[in-house]
């Protein structure tokens, strides 16, 4: 089964997967066969596969070897690192989780800035209606949109905001960041933590609130002033085969990071 050795399998974070998928597409489009990447390679067509399923899937699949590169968009814990002794982690960029609402939601005008505590109370269910948040807002229930527990976003958000307080049980879980962002675009009463990447992708369809007076701009994310942020990480083998290495290099190259930036994230070199 020689084909198995030559293909590159990638999987994990639903935030990072579209970026890597796009880059993989560009890469295959550009080179078509490995021989064109490097003359010493055989004339095999490039075969790359990208699966999604959340950061949890990325860590798990990298650990048990079902993928060659795992995608994670949260901090990889020490416990997890211990199970990845033969792997190398590359931080390719950063993502902020913005507190996102529908553009027609009056909160964007009435109260464009929330404190972290307010955010926490909204997501923990203590604040149930918009009116409870601010008397000028309509008396309608707040619809919470969250990532399911396997997502990197839910863990990053827990660390940055909730700090162990459980998220309200009424919150709707979405299996991917795209789905979560979609809910916020569709539903006037929804609020969710949407990745900056998706905010950029859907300009005008999603409104973003500041937290503790800090707007989730690139500068604030890079400088660390905006604190609800998370790293975007590739988990690769410490000694990948040559072709994988070539592709990792491509992901880390300027072209790669440029695409990451185009898609709304903060590339690692800026930091």
């Amino acid at each position: 089964q020689p084909a198995k050795d030559l293909s590159i399998k990638i999987g994990g974070s639903s935030t990072l997967a579209p970026v890597v998928a796009k880059l993989a597409d560009d890469y295959t489009e550009k080179y078509k066969t490995w021989k064109k990447v490097k003359d010493s390679f055989s004339d095999e067509p490039i075969a790359i596969f990208v699966a999604t399923g959340g950061s949890g899937f990325g860590v798990k699949s990298a650990t048990n070897g079902t993928v060659d590169i795992g995608l994670v968009s949260r901090v990889v814990t020490e416990a997890e690192k211990q199970k990845l002794p033969n792997h190398k982690l590359y931080t390719v960029g950063y993502d902020a989780l913005t507190i996102a609402v529908h553009p027609q939601n009056p909160v964007a005008k009435v109260k464009p800035n929330l404190t972290k505590d307010e955010v926490k109370h909204i997501f923990s269910g203590e604040i149930k209606t918009w009116k409870q948040l601010d008397a000028a807002l309509p008396d309608r229930p707040i619809v919470l949109a969250i990532r399911d527990l396997g997502g990197g976003a839910s863990q990053a958000f827990d660390e940055a905001v909730m700090k162990g307080t459980p998220v309200a049980k009424e919150a709707i879980q979405f299996p991917s960041m795209g789905a979560l962002a979609g809910k916020v675009q569709e539903n006037v009463d929804a609020v969710g933590y949407v990745s900056t990447g998706l905010v950029q992708q859907n300009k005008g369809k999603i409104a973003v609130l500041s937290v503790d007076g800090v707007e989730p701009t690139n500068e604030n994310i890079v400088s660390g002033k905006y604190t609800i942020a998370r790293p975007l990480i590739l988990i690769a083998k410490a000694q990948p085969d040559e072709r994988q290495q070539e592709f990792i290099n491509y992901l880390l190259s300027d072209t790669g990071l440029k695409t990451l930036e185009d898609m709304g994230f903060v590339p690692a070199k800026n930091k």
Partner: protein
């Protein structure tokens, strides 16, 4: 009053199909084009532009593997049940188990395929793991459809065969299988359609959001139903989701239509005397 209710229920069924097909054709027809069928997904978010070719080839390969693996064992099992097992306790048990397996939710077949093929046998997420999972999913359905196809063959043919002292295998080859063949083919087509539309079993065994490179057994694949799920649930493109759904439904309609045609066109010849 009651009569209106009865007619209403019948017409409602027509309305439901009309609504589904109308919606799919209206919204999905707009993106349907040659390019859509023959291009890779493109765009900043893959899928916002371009086509669905890898999903089509992926689904075709999954279905091919599932059918190739399941059809022959299913036929032989059906032959055992109808022609050889007859009233034995073992045949009763087989019958019961297969019948009970038909209703197993496909997500559980997926769970099993995941733990057996992906984890235990180490195939990883791959065409092979997905195809075998789908094969398991359609196996009981195929056995039951094929069993019924064989049973529908008039018993008098068998009685003639027996009173001439010829073997069951000879009867099968010369009379029973030729007579039942339209039904058997129809069963296989139905199984193919069932496999092509299944999403849950391939979600963790075979399907990826992006694939480049040729289809091979140990690599994962894109698949039409999964692609549809991703396009819609990740809000990549609603139009293209409709387009993908339309392609998938047309594919299944063709399979089902042929299967229905075979059954109705040749259905009578199984039971009649001429």
């Amino acid at each position: 009053m009651g009569r209106m209710f009865l007619w209403g229920s019948g017409l409602l069924v027509i309305a439901i199909l009309a609504a589904i097909m109308g919606l799919l054709i209206w919204r999905g027809g707009a993106v349907l084009s040659w390019d859509f069928l023959t291009m890779n997904p493109k765009g900043l978010f893959l899928g916002t532009e371009g086509g669905i070719l890898p999903a089509i080839t992926g689904t075709a390969s999954l279905v091919a593997i599932a059918t190739l693996t399941a059809a022959l064992p299913a036929l032989l099992t059906a032959i055992y049940l109808v022609e050889y097992g007859e009233t034995s306790a073992f045949a009763h048990a087989v019958n019961f188990i297969i019948q009970a397996m038909i209703g197993i939710p496909s997500i559980l077949t997926g769970l099993f395929g995941y733990s057996l093929f992906v984890v235990t046998l180490g195939f990883g997420m791959s065409l092979l793991a997905g195809g075998l999972t789908l094969a398991l999913m359609i196996l009981p359905t195929l056995v039951v459809l094929m069993r019924d196809a064989l049973r529908a063959v008039n018993d008098d043919y068998r009685l003639i065969g027996e009173s001439l002292g010829v073997s069951r295998q000879y009867q099968l080859r010369r009379v029973i299988l030729p007579l039942a063949s339209p039904h058997l083919v129809s069963a296989v087509l139905l199984g193919m359609g069932y496999a092509a539309g299944a999403t849950a079993p391939i979600m963790v065994t075979a399907a990826v959001v992006m694939s480049r490179g040729s289809v091979s057994l140990f690599n994962p694949v894109m698949a039409l139903p999964f692609h549809l799920y991703i396009l819609f649930s990740q809000h990549i493109s609603l139009e293209r989701a409709y387009g993908t759904a339309l392609v998938l439904v047309i594919l299944l309609l063709i399979l089902n239509a042929i299967s229905l045609y075979l059954r109705s066109r040749y259905g009578k010849r199984v039971v009649s005397y001429d």
